[in-house]
C-alpha cells in the first residue's frame, strides 16, 4: 500500500518534471542562453591560447615573428645570444647595441618592424629584468614583444647557468617545483595524496564559490516556481491533481535538470574546444594557469570518482537550499515578496558558508568532523575536505547521510508549509509569523453551536 503511494508520488513528480522542463525550454531566451553557453565553451580554449603569455604556444606553430630586427642593450655581464633555436626568431636580426635611450627611440620610430630589449640587473635587489620596447608607429603587438622578451629571458637564464658551469641535469633539478604537504602519518603510510593547508583552503574556496553560484541561481528560480501557481490562479486546479510535495519535488528536480543541462552544454563546449585546440596548440599551460589563478601550487588531478563525489555534494547542497527556499518562498504571492524571501534563505546559506570557512581554522579534528556533519556547513566542505584528506571516508559518508535525512525532513516540512500557505496572499510575513500561521491554524474545534 505504502509502496503504491510512493510509486504514485514518483509518477506525479515525473509528470511535473517533464512539464516544467518542456515549459522552460519553450522560452526563446532560455534557448539563446544555452546557445551562448555552448559558444562560450567552444571558444574558451582558443581564447586562452590567444591571451596566454607563455611563448611555447606561439613557437610551436612554426610561424615567423613579425619582428625582423631586435636592438639588444645588454647591461649585465652575461653575453646573451639570439634565440635562434626557435623557428619563430630564426630570421630575426639580432643587433647588440650600447646606444642611449634617445638613439634607440629614433631607430624604433624609423623602423616599424624593429624592437629593442634592455637586459639589466637591479644593483640593490640583484633582480634581472628584460624590458622590451617598440615604436609608436610599430606594426608589432605588445603580446608579440612580450613573447620575445620571454624567449630572451630564457636565453639569459641558460647563459647564466653555462657561465656557472651548471650541467643540464643540474639545470633540470633547479627548475623542478617544490610542493609543501601536511598529512597524518597514517595517510603517509597508506600513500594517500593530500594537499597542503593553503592549497586545500583555496580549493575548498573554489568549491564553495561554485556552490554559492549554483544555489544563488537556483533560489530565484525556485521562489518564482513557488509563486507560479498563485500568480496564475491555478492553485486549486493543480492541487486537485497533485500532492504539494510531488509538485515541489518535481519543480526542484526540473530546476536541477536546467542547471545540469547548462553544465553539460558549457562543460561539453569546453571539452570539445580543448580536444580540437590541443590538435594545433599545446595546452599544458591551462592547468598551471588555473592553479596560478587560484593561487595554489598545483591543481588537483580529478579522477572520475572525485568528480562524481563533488557532483553528488553539489546536488545534495542544491536540494537542501532548494527546500529551504521553498519553505520561505511559500509565503510569497507577489514579485516584490521575492526579495525578503531570498534574503532569509541567503542568510542561512551564508551562515553555512561562514561556518564552513572559519570553523576548520581551529584545526581540531572534532570541530572539523562536526563542521562536516552539520548539514548547513557540511554541504560547503565535506566532499572537498575528504578529497584533501582532512576527514575520513566514514565522516564524509555520515555527512552525506545527515544531508539526505535533512533534505527529506525539509521536503516534508516544505510540503506542509506550501500547502498551508497556498491560499495566502498579502505582505510577506516574518519567519516567526510564517510558522505561527502554519502551525497556529490547526485550532481545536468548538462544540456545535458555540460561537466565537
Amino acid at each position: 500500500m505504502k509502496s503504491n503511494g510512493i510509486r504514485m508520488r514518483l509518477r506525479e513528480v515525473g509528470i511535473v518534471v517533464r512539464f516544467a522542463v518542456k515549459d522552460h525550454y519553450r522560452a526563446l531566451s532560455v534557448r539563446i542562453l544555452l546557445a551562448l553557453l555552448l559558444v562560450a565553451g567552444l571558444v574558451s580554449m582558443p581564447l586562452l591560447v590567444f591571451f596566454n603569455d607563455d611563448d611555447t604556444a606561439a613557437v610551436d606553430t612554426g610561424e615567423r615573428s613579425v619582428i625582423t630586427k631586435l636592438y639588444v642593450r645588454n647591461e649585465t655581464p652575461f653575453p646573451v645570444e639570439a634565440p635562434t633555436a626557435s623557428v619563430r626568431y630564426a630570421e630575426m636580426e639580432w643587433v647588440p647595441t650600447e646606444s642611449s635611450d634617445e638613439t634607440m627611440a629614433k631607430l624604433l620610430a624609423e623602423e616599424t618592424t624593429a624592437a629593442a630589449v634592455v637586459i639589466s640587473q637591479n644593483a640593490e635587489t640583484g633582480q634581472f629584468a628584460v624590458d622590451g620596447y617598440y615604436g609608436e608607429q610599430s606594426e608589432i603587438s605588445g603580446r608579440e614583444l612580450d613573447t620575445l622578451c620571454g624567449a630572451v629571458a630564457e636565453q639569459l637564464y641558460d647563459t647564466m647557468m653555462q657561465t656557472l658551469q651548471v650541467t643540464q641535469a643540474q639545470m633540470d633539478l633547479l627548475k623542478s617545483d617544490i610542493i609543501a604537504n601536511t598529512r597524518t602519518f597514517s595517510d603517509y603510510q597508506n600513500g594517500e595524496d593530500v594537499f597542503g593547508m593553503a592549497d586545500s583552503a583555496l580549493i575548498s574556496l573554489l568549491y564553495s564559490y561554485l556552490l554559492l553560484i549554483v544555489t544563488a541561481m537556483a533560489m530565484g528560480y525556485i521562489v518564482q516556481l513557488c509563486m507560479e501557481e498563485k500568480q496564475s490562479k491555478l492553485v486549486e486546479l493543480v492541487l486537485i491533481s497533485v500532492k504539494p510535495i510531488s509538485l515541489l519535488t518535481g519543480k526542484i528536480v526540473a530546476v536541477t535538470c536546467f542547471l545540469l543541462v547548462m553544465l553539460v552544454i558549457g562543460g561539453g563546449g569546453v571539452a570539445v574546444s580543448y580536444l580540437v585546440t590541443s590538435q594545433f596548440y599545446s595546452l599544458d599551460f591551462v592547468g598551471e594557469m588555473i592553479a596560478g589563478a587560484l593561487g595554489v601550487s598545483r591543481f588537483p588531478e580529478f579522477t572520475v570518482a572525485s568528480v562524481l563525489l563533488c557532483v553528488v555534494g553539489i546536488v545534495l547542497a542544491y536540494l537542501l537550499t532548494a527546500f529551504l527556499a521553498v519553505i520561505f518562498g511559500s509565503a510569497c504571492s507577489r514579485t516584490e515578496d521575492v526579495q525578503p524571501c531570498t534574503l532569509i534563505t541567503t542568510l542561512f546559506i551564508m551562515l553555512g558558508y561562514l561556518g564552513a570557512s572559519f570553523l576548520p581554522m581551529m584545526n581540531h579534528d572534532v570541530v572539523l568532523a562536526v563542521t562536516c556533519v552539520f548539514p548547513l556547513t557540511g554541504m560547503f566542505c565535506a566532499p572537498i575536505f575528504f578529497l584533501c584528506g582532512k576527514i575520513s571516508g566514514w565522516v564524509m559518508l555520515l555527512a552525506f547521510a545527515v544531508q539526505i535525512l535533512t533534505i527529506v525532513g525539509l521536503a516534508k516540512l516544505s510540503g506542509t508549509i506550501y500547502r498551508a500557505m497556498i491560499f495566502y496572499r498579502g505582505q510577506y510575513p516574518s519567519p516567526a509569523k510564517l510558522f505561527a500561521m502554519v502551525y497556529g491554524s490547526k485550532s481545536k474545534p468548538s462544540r456545535k453551536g458555540e460561537t466565537s
Binding site: 506525479e12 509528470i15 515549459d23 491555478l234 486549486e236 486546479l237 493543480v238 486537485i240 485550532s443 456545535k448
Partner: protein
C-alpha cells in the same frame, strides 16, 4: 453510500468560517451550496477537497474518507487560471496525465470536450492558414479560458464534480453551452456540487441544497420540499386597470408594482381566494391571477437578507 460531509468546522484565529456543516448526497444529481459572499462556501469546498486543513469533521465518499486516490474528483474553482505562456493542449494533457489518464486518451477527451464547448479552433486548426489561431492561455478571452478550465476539470471523467460559480462571467451563448454540459453530466449519473449566486441557474439543476450565512447553515433540504413548506404565498396579478385599492382592502401586501401588474404576498390560499372573489364581484377584468411557490431567490433573500439588514 454516496457523498457525506459531517460536522465540518474551520476557524482562523478566533473567527469561525465554517461552523459544523453537514450534508449528504445519496444519489446522483446536483447539490447546491448557496450563501452570501464570505458565508464559507469556498472554504468548505477547499476542506472537502483536502486543500485546506479541517479543524473538525469528516468528508466521506462511499463510506470511506474522501481522498483523491479513492474518488475521482473534477473541480472548477472559483479562482480560475491557466499557465499563461503555455500551450493549451500541453497544459490540458498535463492535468489529465496527473489524474492518471494516458496521453493518447487525454488527447481524445480534449478534442471531445473542445468540440462540445466550441473551442476546437484553439487546439486544432483545420488548415495551415489558420495555424495562427493556436493560442496561449493569456491570449484567450475570459469566457474561452473558462471553457478550458472546465475541460481540465472534466478530463479525468470524474465521479464527483464540484463547480464553484460555473457560469459567472459567461455570455448567454457560452452559459447555455455550460448548462448543456452540466445536464449531460447529470444524465451520466454523476454527483455534482454546485455553488452559485445565480439562483435561477441553481433552481434549474439542483434537487437538494444548503444555504450558508456567516459560516452557519440557515436552511437545508430538498428544494421541492422547502418550497412546499413555504406554501403558495406569492400572488401575481395583472389587469387593465389600477387595483391597488382593492388589493390593499383585502389585506394583501403589495411587494412590487409595474404598471397594472402586481407582485403580492398572501398569507395563504384562503386570502388569495377571497381577493379573487372580491375582484370578480367588482367586475374587474383580470389578465393574470397566479398563486405560486416562492422562487429560490425569494427563499434565499428571506433567509439571508434579514441577518444582513441587522
Amino acid at each position: 453510500m454516496g457523498f457525506a460531509v459531517n460536522d465540518l468546522y474551520k476557524k482562523y484565529g478566533e473567527k469561525v468560517v465554517v461552523d459544523h456543516l453537514s450534508f449528504q448526497i445519496d444519489s446522483p444529481g446536483v447539490y447546491a451550496l448557496l450563501g452570501t459572499n464570505g458565508a464559507g462556501k469556498t472554504t468548505s469546498i477547499r476542506m472537502i477537497l483536502g486543500m485546506l486543513a479541517k479543524d473538525g469533521g469528516t468528508v466521506t465518499w462511499n463510506g470511506q474518507p474522501l481522498t483523491m486516490e479513492n474518488c475521482n474528483v473534477g473541480y472548477l474553482a472559483e479562482e480560475r487560471g491557466l499557465y499563461p505562456k503555455c500551450g493549451l493542449m500541453d497544459q490540458l494533457i498535463y492535468f489529465a496525465t496527473l489524474r492518471g489518464v494516458s496521453k493518447a486518451d487525454a488527447k481524445k477527451r480534449i478534442y471531445y470536450w473542445a468540440e462540445k464547448l466550441d473551442a476546437m479552433e484553439y487546439l486544432k486548426p483545420p488548415t495551415l492558414a489558420k495555424a495562427a489561431k493556436i493560442k496561449k492561455a493569456d491570449q484567450l478571452s475570459k469566457g474561452n479560458q473558462q471553457k478550458f478550465q472546465l475541460m481540465a476539470a472534466l478530463l479525468s471523467d470524474p465521479e464527483l464534480i464540484i463547480l464553484d460559480e460555473p457560469l459567472s462571467g459567461l455570455d448567454p451563448v457560452n452559459a447555455d453551452l455550460f448548462k448543456g454540459i452540466i445536464h449531460e453530466e447529470i444524465e451520466k449519473g454523476k454527483y455534482l456540487i454546485m455553488s452559485s449566486h445565480q439562483m435561477a441557474t441553481i433552481e434549474e439543476f439542483c434537487t437538494d441544497l444548503t444555504i450558508l450565512d456567516r459560516s452557519k447553515t440557515v436552511l437545508q433540504g430538498n428544494l421541492a420540499d422547502i418550497k412546499k413548506s413555504y406554501g403558495r404565498i406569492h400572488l401575481y396579478i395583472k389587469s387593465e386597470q389600477d387595483l391597488e385599492q382593492q388589493i390593499m382592502a383585502a389585506g394583501v401586501n403589495i411587494e412590487s408594482k409595474v404598471g397594472f401588474a402586481y407582485q403580492c404576498k398572501v398569507t395563504g390560499e384562503e386570502q388569495a381566494n377571497a381577493l379573487l372573489k372580491a375582484l370578480v364581484e367588482q367586475g374587474v377584468t383580470l389578465i393574470a391571477f397566479e398563486l405560486c411557490e416562492p422562487s429560490l431567490h425569494d427563499i434565499f433573500v428571506e433567509k439571508v437578507g434579514d441577518t444582513h439588514e441587522e
